[in-house]
Amino acid sequence: MSHISTYRANIRVNPVRGSQHDTTWQLLEEAIASVAEEHEGRIDEYVTDYFGRRTRVDFALITPTFRNGVGVNVDPKTGEVRFLYDDYGYQRGVIDSLCEELVQSYTALAVSRALDALNYSVEYEESKQSAGERRVVVRGVL
């Protein structure tokens, strides 16, 4: 019996940022770097609001389409990942899309690593859907 399961994924990293070898924080940084690269952006430690005030965050994704930056903070009690940004003057859709891509990238990286840990040979494929949405497929073969 083989089957098809549908899951809802939630990111829960290690609440306390540990050593540089902490897998969950490494994955989070890699996911943000991946989205930054795709949008010709960069990672910073600060986001900016409409008035130019800076706020320190765990990671900030700065892109040409959203220069204030999407802040990524980890709740120190639960490990829940939260996004922090000032969208005043920007199209909400652009920011929502960046946040969704961050979650998607983290999920894809985590799935790839998990399959690899279970000794599967892993393939990764990205495609754009008709509506411009990015879909990621990770295949593991044993």
Binding site: M1, S2, S5, N10, R12, S97, L118
Partner: protein, 77 residues
């Protein structure tokens, strides 16, 4: 027999996992193993839907006929 897991991830955080080529209920054991490793990777996944494949689909994947109680291997004539 090659076993495959194909995972599709959309922008809304929905993850569809297809288990291909697993015999019997081993796919459910593998799903649990995968969930456990994903949790270690910081990804908590909640099951929304599970669809068991039809006998025809399984036969196509495995080249065998799987009955309710036993697995019948089709031998070449």
């Amino acid at each position: 027999m090659t076993r495959r897991i194909e995972v599709s991830i959309d922008k809304k955080g929905q993850v569809q996992v297809e288990f291909i080529g697993f015999v019997g209920d081993t796919c459910f054991d593998e799903a649990e193993r995968l969930q456990a490793v994903l949790a270690k990777m910081g990804l908590k996944v909640d099951v929304e839907q599970v669809i068991r494949k039809s006998a025809g689909q399984i036969e196509h994947e495995l080249g065998v006929e799987e009955s309710k109680d036993e697995l019948v291997v089709r031998r070449p004539e």
